[in-house]
Amino acid sequence: MTEIPYIAAIEMAIHGEMERDDSVLYFGQNIATSENDKFLQAFGPDRVRVTPISETAEIGMAVGAALAGFRPVVELYMAEFMLVAMDQVVNEAPRFRYMTGGQVKVPLVLKAGYGFTAGWSGQHTGTIYGMFMGVPGLRVAIPSTAADAKGLMATAIRDDNPVAYFHHYLLTLEPGEVPDGEHLVPFGQAAVRREGGDVTIVALGYMVGLAMNAAERLAGEGVQAEVIDPRTLNPLDLKTILESVEKTGHLVLVDQATRHGSASAVIAADVADEGFSSLKAPIKQVTALDSTIPYSQPMEEYILPSEDKIVGAVQQVLGQAPVTA
């Protein structure tokens, strides 16, 4: 175990997989432009390349290189930049295997940061994993800790399917204990971050930290919250969530996305079907308000989920607070 920042854990995983497997490539914009780059030094310009600002070419080339037997990791910086190349992500990479009747596989990783709600304003702050979650053939990972950042990236690179790997910008420098050497976090296995019998809080990505803080505050009021971090949205570990709800009878979901564009809604709908009989109260979602993210800090804060809003939602489902829609 070593304590390193979240972003270093991601890089460690890419580095480790590149050492392990010659077929792993790493390319994208604004990486490895100088000779001092450590990836370039370690793996050379065949496997590590800076690309032009051409996401469609970048992701399309990743598809082609994957079809031809490689395992590309594409550095995209911000998740929204995938939007200019969305067809490759949604309608190409995850479909080739299927349409060819299993003749090919398309192992690639799209590394994309999201949710940079630090004054990045309307076009760079989106939490858009919800758009990818339901795409058949595409895996979606959303690490919330440095250890998972490493373990999910390593698993993503070894997975034979295309993976959209979303790291949260506000976690970039967040330190955490990370296992040394090989560390794989399996896809489809949620982490129970905190146990509790009164309410289940399913929190996504960066929201896990907020939910943990809210849970501590609630504990001070005698409410024991179980905090679940699904870690991957596809596959989704619904089982762990259902088991928790069976125990607690109450569910609050926390997602930085806007409500109708959230992944939390999709999870809530699954629980409203398969976990209905466990539920003692409405399923509440704490999400961003239905708005583009504003630049100015007080307005930005108003739009986003917060510890207060999580505590409020828990109190609501437990009948401890007046219900205000």
Binding site: S54, M61, G64, A65, A68, E92, Y98
Partner: protein
């Protein structure tokens, strides 16, 4: 680039005949077996010379990617035409098990990595395969086929820039058939509107651009062959504009179930009322044109040519029969290949 000896010329004619006959049988299926072909089907008739001339330049280790107009290439590569027809008929014996259909024929073992039905999206994919070829260092070249329309899609220019910058071993073959569905190239392309060849686009990427008569398989072979040689020797990509004329409409009509599907008349006639253009193209049909040349040059006798045509007809009759007689896949197999 190897010289084309007589055997090779006969081989080229044979492949052109096979592609033509396959496409004829696909088209006839709409009348002979209504309802068997679903969705959207695009034919290569008229482009045979371009396809065969291009693929004749390849070595066994080479690869290619194409568009949804994809029937011609695997035939030339040696893919079983029975499996191809069965795929177009949605049968479990199909090349892709009935998962893909007409637009997505793929034969990875023969280097045909697949197609995209989304215009131009195969261009970066082929470019990625060329990147893979470059770093694998096994002397591979990738051919990337696409239409004139596709060159108006951002994916085209993004890819050609990278390919030129990285000197990737790839040849971009634009099959310019003067149409994007019902739109004429002058209506959508600034070069065409200005009277320039579309190959001029290569200049934007500091890359060579060539225009060739796509109705002449030997000319195509020479032009694409020079580009393949260039690519193989590490000098980078070339854009080849191969001028063809598709002899069928863009695809079968687009209609919901219940309305019988068929191929309408070519857009020159149907949309623009320009039968002359179409008739002129028919007169230049590359298949009889190449046959006449080979017969005249005494590479083939008329009888041998007829035999080749007859063999193609027999082969494709067998493909149709096989496709019709094959079973459908089990419904529950539908979720089999969603994930690897």
């Amino acid at each position: 680039m190897k010289q084309l000896d007589n055997d090779r010329l006969v081989w080229m004619f044979t492949q052109m005949a096979r592609v033509r006959e396959f496409e004829e049988r696909v088209k006839r299926t709409f009348e002979e077996h209504p309802g068997v072909i679903r969705g959207h089907t695009h034919l290569a008739d008229g482009a045979e010379a371009s396809i065969v001339g291009s693929l004749a330049t390849l070595e066994p280790q080479d690869q290619l990617m194409t568009t949804y107009r994809c029937h011609g290439y695997p035939i030339v590569l040696g893919t079983d035409t029975k499996a191809m027809m069965a795929e177009i008929y949605g049968k479990k014996t199909g090349l892709c098990g009935g998962y893909g259909g007409s637009m997505h024929l793929t034969d990875v073992e023969r280097g045909f990595l697949g197609t995209s039905g989304i215009v131009a999206q195969g261009i970066p994919q082929a470019t990625g395969a060329a990147y893979a070829a470059q770093i694998r260092k096994e002397n591979q070249v990738v051919l990337c086929f696409f239409g004139d329309g596709a060159s108006k899609q951002g994916a085209f220019s993004e890819s050609l820039n990278v390919a030129s910058l990285w000197k990737l071993p790839i040849v971009y073959v634009m099959e310019n058939n003067s149409y994007n569905v019902v739109t004429r190239v002058e209506q959508e392309d600034a070069n065409a509107a200005a009277g320039e060849p579309l190959a001029v686009k290569a200049k934007a990427f500091s890359m060579p651009g060539e225009t060739v008569d796509g109705g002449d398989p030997v000319a195509v072979y020479e032009t694409v062959g020079a580009a393949v040689d260039r690519a193989r020797s590490g000098e980078g990509p070339t854009l080849v504009e191969s001028k063809v004329y598709r002899l069928s409409a863009h695809g079968n009509i687009i209609a919901p179930p219940g309305v019988p599907l068929h191929f309408p008349e070519h857009e020159a006639i149907e949309v623009f009322g320009n039968a002359d253009e179409y008739e002129a193209a028919k007169k230049g049909d590359p298949v009889p044109r190449f046959r006449a040349r080979l017969v005249q040059d005494e590479v083939l006798s008329a009888e041998q040519a007829d035999e080749i045509m007859q063999a193609a007809r027999d082969e494709m009759q067998a493909a149709v029969d096989f496709g019709i007689e094959s079973d459908f896949p089990e419904p529950a197999e539908a979720t089999k290949y969603v994930y690897a």
